[in-house]
Each structure stands twice: as structure tokens, then as C-alpha cells.
Amino acid sequence: MTRLNQIELAVAGTMLAASPWVIYAAPHEATMGLVYKIFFYHFPSAWIYLLGAIVAGVCSAVFLFGGNRNMDSWALAAAEMTVLFGAMTLVTGPLWARKAWGVFWVWDARLTSSLIVWMVFVAYLILRRFGGPGSDKLGAGMALFGLASVPFIFVSVNVWRTLHPQTSVIPTLPVSMGRPLWFCFTAMFLLFLALLSLRARLERQRGRIEELYLAEDEA
């Protein structure tokens, strides 16, 4: 673990530990009351979920068309982050919806496409774990499909009629709500950077172990 990773993890951990107090100080929303405070974890995890999918897709494209194996390690790490932060998004969202909408889930464009992209990355990880030789390139193709779906998830709330709030909500937030939101976002973003870097490093180490085993067999 590098010094930067340690700093990122320490800062992210401290910020996440302090986040309940920061969120507690935020005012209640007029119509939803207390339950809207799930938003302070839901929104950052959702954005990092999409960021992870973008990183995984771009790194996969570079690996697929450029043959850079190092990029494959980053793609795998980013796919794991996508599944991790996607799980947070897909669990915190319905818990909020149960109170705000009266139901845990609706099959609208935003929720359904988010679930599908999350399942694409779960399938990617399963493929990479059990797929055997060639699964890296097949997985890269899947990650490209995940990347192509990200703009669809983003604009879906503005194009189709849905219960989910539109993307115009964030810029209109008052400072008293925006401050804790960006505090939580920064904490989760630092966590994402640290974990992404560590997971990519683990994958490079595994590659090196495989090379050493092969060299041992040949000798």
C-alpha cells in the first residue's frame, strides 16, 4: 500500500465517520422530512457507480484495442468498484423510495437500467473469476456494453416519465443541503480512488504470481 493510498483511506474513513454529524446538521426537506437524508449516501454512491462503469469501459477499450495488459487490471478493479457502489445505490434508493413513493421499487427507465448495468458488471466479475483463458477480452466487450449504457441511465429521468427526481435537482439545492452532500461525495470519491488503486495493484501482483508459476513449470 502506497503512502497516498494510506492518506486517501484515512481521510475517507474519517470523513465517512464524521458524515452522520454533518448530515444531522442539514435541514429537513419540506415534503419528505427526515427520510430524504438517505440522499446524502445515495447520490454519491450512484455517481461513483457510474464513474466506475466509465473507468471500467474506457480501460477495457484501451486493453481491447491497444493490448495494454495494465489497463485490464484497472478495468477489473473499476468493475469491482462499480458492483460495490452499485450495490449501495440499489439498496439505499429503494429504502428511501419506500417512504417517499410508498413502494420499494418501480420498473421505470432509471431504476431498471441501473439494475441491468449493475448485473452486467456482476456478470463481468463472474466471467473473469470462472471464465478461464480468453475471459479478459470477452469481459472487456461486456464492460464496453456497460459503458455505453451509462449515458442512458443519466438522461433516462429527463426523457421518460418517472417517479425518480430529475438531474436538475442537484444544482438547485440550497447551500445548507449542498454542503453535506459534497462532503459525503468527497469522502466516497477518495474511498473509490484508494480502493481502485489497491485493487488494480492486487491484480498486477496476481499477474506476476502467474508469471512466476509459469516460469517455475518451464524450468
Binding site: M1, L16, P20, I38, T92, L95, R98, L198, L202, Q205
Partner: protein, 86 residues
Amino acid sequence: MRFCRALLCVVALLAVPGVVAAQPQPSPDEFVPVTEVPPEEQIPAINLIGAAYGFVWIVVVGYVWSLGRRMQKAEADLAALERKAR
């Protein structure tokens, strides 16, 4: 024949109350709000917030722990193989 027609009329007359009763009731013209939500329908917001935050924390701590274990194992394997290769 006449008897059959009379019998049909009696059966039809007897069926009228049953058919009328089976008709769906007309719906009210406007939304009728409930004055009190049954207790089983009420979910305190704090439970949902606790579940959401708790889930996020468990996932983060669990993942960091899992990643740490995997990294320790990989580093140990790598060190052992490099010692062997020398």
C-alpha cells in the same frame, strides 16, 4: 311449450336479484383520504435511514477487510515464489 316459457320467466325473475347484487358498486367520484393510516402501514423514517447507512458501512468495512486479506495473501505468495526463483 307454454309451461316452458312460464318457467323461463320465473327463472329469469328469480335471477334478477342475484345479477343486480353481482354488479360492481359505482366508484366514488373523488379521492377519499384516510384519516388514520393503519400502524402496520407506517414505517418510521429513522429505521430506513439506519438500514441505509448501516448497509453502506457494512459493505465498505467488509470490502476493505476482504481486499486487505487478498492483498496479504498475494504478497505472501509473491514473496515465497521470488525466494524460490532465486
